[in-house]
Structures are given as C-alpha cells and as structure tokens.
Amino acid sequence: MYKYDTYDQAMVDTRVEEFRDQVKRRLEGHLSEDQFKPLRLQNGLYLQLHAYMLRVAIPYGTLNSAQMRVLGDIADKYDRGYGHFTTRQNIQYNWIQLDQTPDLLAELAKVEMHAIQTSGNCIRNISSDQYAGAAADELVDPRPYAELLRQWSSFHPEFLVLPRKFKIAVIASETDRAAMKLHDIGIRIVKNAAGEIGAAFYVGGGMGRTPMIAPLIREFVPLDQLITYSEACLRVYNRYGRRDNKYKARIKILVHELGKDEYTRQVEEEFAHLLTQGIEPPLAELERIKAHFPDPAYDPAAPDTLDRSDPDFALWVDRNCAAHKQPGYMIATISLKPVGGIPGDATGEQMRLMADLGRDYSFDELRVTHAQNIVLPHVRKADLYALWQKLDAAGLGTANLDRIGDIIACPGLDYCSLANARSIPVAQKISERFAAKQADLGELKLKISGCINACGHHHAGHIGILGVDKKGTENYQLLLGGCEGDDTSLGTITGPGFSEDGIVDAIDKATEVYLAHKQGDERFLDTYRRVGMAPFKEAIYE
C-alpha cells in the first residue's frame, strides 16, 4: 500500500501542529466558535449530539495492521473503547475531547493517517472497491488511480471551498462494489477497443434529499489525462454550482439543471483549455504510485481446496468469502453486524484482533467497506478455518454478508445532531427479528438513514428505511427497489410511514410477499422488479 514520502509526512505533521495552535487559541478564548468551527471541521472534528466526534480518513478503505492497531488504541485511549466504521470507508469516534485532539492526530500521523478533508465543502476521502487488488473480476488495481486523485485533491487550493462537499469513487471491476454511480464523480477504469487502459467518467450522482444516478459523460479518458479531466469536471461545478441554497448545491443538481449534454459540453471545453496548461502530472508519478501496490508474495503452491466439514465454517465461507484472482486464496469479509449489534461498531480490542489477523493471514492488509464491514483481502484457503475460529471466538464470525442482517445504518439520532430519528435500534430489531429467516431470504440489502441526508444509503437499499420527524415523534418511511451495484436504481417509497415497531412488521410482510412470488433463484430485488410495487403495498398496508 502507499507509503508517505517525506513531503506527505511533513504536510500531515505540519497540519497537526497548526491545529494544535488553533485548539490552544480556541481554549484560551482568542478564537470564537464561529471562527474555530470551520478550522475544526477541516480537521474532521464535529460537535455532535453528545460530544465532539472525530472522523478519520481511511483512503480508499485500505489499512495496514499497524494502522488498524492504532485505531483500536485510540478507541481505548481517547474515546470510550469503540469506533464506528462509516459508509465512506472511514472511522468515527464519538466521544473525543477537544484538548486531546491534537495529541490524537499526532498519533495518527505516526502511522500515516489523518482527518483532513473528512468534513467541509471539499473533495472528501476517495472511496473504492474493497476487493481492490484481489478481486477475480478486476481489470487492474484501482487504488493507484485513487491515490493519484487523493494527492491531487488534498489541499487543492481551488477546490477547498466548493459549493458543497464532493465525493469520488474509483473502481476497476465489472462488478460495482463501491456504489460508484451514486457519487459526485464515479470513475471506472476500463480498457478501450485498442487495448489501452483509461477511465470512464460518471458525473452527478448522489443520495441525500435529491437522489440521482450519475450519467456517463465520457467513455474513455486516457490515463495521462485523468487529472486534467477531473479538474475540468470540478472547475465547471465550482464555477456554476449553486452557492445560494445548500440543498441545491451538489453537482448532481447542476448536471440535472444544465442537462447531461450541456454539462458535458462545458467540461469538454474546459478540458481542452486545461490541456494547454500542462497541469497533468507525468505518467512517471502514476508509475511511482503503482509501485506501492504490488501483489503480495503469494504462495504459488497454496492448496486450492477447502475442508468444509464444519458446517458453520462452510456457511461462513459461502456467505462471507469471495473469489480471489490468485488460486489458493480467498477474500474474507469480517461482518461488523452481529445479531442485535450496532452496525459498523468495533471495540478497540476487536480492532487490535483484526489488526493481528490482517498481519498473520492477509499480508498485513485490511479494508473497510462502504457497507461498514472489514475485509481481509488475501487469505490462503488453507488458513481460512483457523481465521474463522479466531473471528468466531471474538464475536466477529457472523455469516451474513449481503443478507438482511448485514444492515447499513447511519448513527442516527442516538449520536448525530442532524438526524430526525434513530437508526440503530431499528437495525437491531430487524437483525434479531430476521436472524432465523435470513437464509431463506437470500441476498437482501437493507439500509437505514436517520434523516434525509441519507448517510445510511436508504435510497440504494433493496429495502430502504428513512427515519423522519413526524410532529416530534420518530416515524419511518419504507422504500423498496433500490440498488447500488451495476444496475443501480433508486428505491420507491411504499406509502405512509410506520412507528419503530411497525416498520419491522412491514418488512416482515414485504419479505413474505417476496417468498410467495419468488421464482427460482430470484433475489428480493429481482422479484420486486418483476412483480412491481402493487403486491408489496397491498400486503404492507392491508
């Protein structure tokens, strides 16, 4: 994985000391909260419902063991023993003290981590495929491109005060595991008819209060123009994106209002101009970055068979492990969704265990997924059983990847000052209610947001839940038919909302409709798409 050079390290270290001085001045009263707030937000420090919350960037979700260990240590030393992995492949700590934040950031910097640009109207953490570098269906490893974009977007002077926040995802597989079309810019690394590698650009997607699927605006951008084209996309947005209304300030609104063709025309015009300015880094820089992402030293003699005699283990392999490009290896996902648990939460002890397992079984690598799980990307098949036993003993062996219990949930009103309703208790009730039924339901992605900002990706859930405030009471709207993958679609609201218990009953009815109408191996989503909303609505509101 990418290693900081002296310039990277100096930037991060300098930023820590700068923020240390800003915190000191705030605590001494030399800065007002109005003056300090944008400074702390630029360093990922929010003031949430109960305390300060720090969001730490995990670039494209990739961690080494030392970094995961430090995240666990920080949970114990500076927080209350746990952290929350987010849908942006980051981690959040919920109980941070302002005066301790500079020391915390200094500890992060020692393992090449920071919280810069995890808030504010700037380009946020670049997300990617959690199986990058390991997936059997991958064209190339997308992370060098994500890293190049990270370096371009970090402290980019022109794009630190955009109309609104800006999220980019980069993938390089046929299968979209990163919700790429629901980003401000989604980039798919592709090969053209001439066999050259380049990038397809999807621009103007997003969730929030106005969900939109990003249209493809260019099928192929040569690799030596990747940054220039990205810059053109951002420049047009920065110039014309609305700043008068934060609810209409995202690039999706601009693309929608201009129309894809006009937005694209303006981007191409800007692109042509920028090509004359020579802003593109030399390809040698991309090659330098690529050198940080070599394949691990796989064992070519690793046996390509599995002993599936333990049925619980076999179930976990079937649910949580994916095909690896290297024979004899698999990709293992650690579910952070135990039955009745809090989606995405992990204790400091669990993080240190996962760090050790990453070191011992996965060439020192771990990934955070946008579905709030952890991946060990390179595990020998021969080691999977030992790995699973250790996970199971630590409560991390739940076999539910992409099942109804593998719920994405935002922190909701239990932690978030923007939320209108709690997400976590609903997730816990669903997880418990459907634990026994899970196997019958097959792949069923359920996502919960506690407000219209959609941090829980409810628009993209096969079943989505949106918590709203109805005259001071929590109310939950139900959506069906969303999908974040290759066939991205947005969920449709079924009708009037439900109480906390009522939403669980409504989902039960929806799953019964699915089981009654299911044909062959159809997923819930497939059945919904085939039969439509009517039978679901009829059952839910009978």
């Binding site: 605590l27 909260e33 003031l47 419902l49 300060y52 109980w95 976590i424």
Partner: protein, 98 residues
C-alpha cells in the same frame, strides 16, 4: 419552561444551565424565562459553554423533561448504549426519553 443547554468547550459534554453554572444533569436545569439570550451571550463569551441554545421543556414530579426527543436523548446519552449514559447502573433511567 425555557431551559438552556450546550456543550462543555473542552470535553464536549452536554451541559444544562442550573442558574449558577453548567450541570451535566438535566434535572438541575432551571427556567430562564426571557433571559436566555443574555445568559447565553455572557456564558459563551466566558468560555463556560459552547454551542448553547434555549429549548422548551416541562417540569413535573419526575423532573425536567426537554420537549423534543433530540434533547431528551442528549440529556441521558445514546439509547443503544445504556452503559455510556449518565446513569449506566439504572436500566429504567431512560424510560422517559423515547
């Protein structure tokens, strides 16, 4: 009644104006009547509280209860982690929150 709430500048902890200082416990909150703006300006200038604001609440035999669910959750802690609330040893402490 109108009560005042905010966060401690250094720790970020939720606090409530008790008439003299900022308390961690909502039951200590007092009705500030029409003086919210004056108190908030003075206390924030003195760095004794951060991001403070006035809210509606009621007081009955059970104590002071913020009107909105968001402030009731702030008053005790996350409903999903009773061990992290102000009263971790009392399983009934949050019965009034939701």
């Amino acid at each position: 009644m109108k009560i005042l709430t905010g966060n401690d500048l250094k720790s970020g902890a939720v606090t409530w104006w008790d008439g003299v200082q900022w308390s961690l416990h909502v039951e200590d909150a007092v009705d500030v009547g029409d003086h919210a703006d004056t108190i908030l300006a003075r206390e924030q200038a003195a760095l004794r509280v951060n991001a403070a604001y006035a809210i509606d609440a009621v007081k009955d035999e059970q104590g002071v209860r913020p009107a909105h669910i968001k402030d009731r959750i702030r008053a005790l802690g996350p409903t999903v982690r009773p061990d992290l609330t102000l009263k971790p040893a009392d399983p009934a402490a949050g019965d009034w929150v939701i």
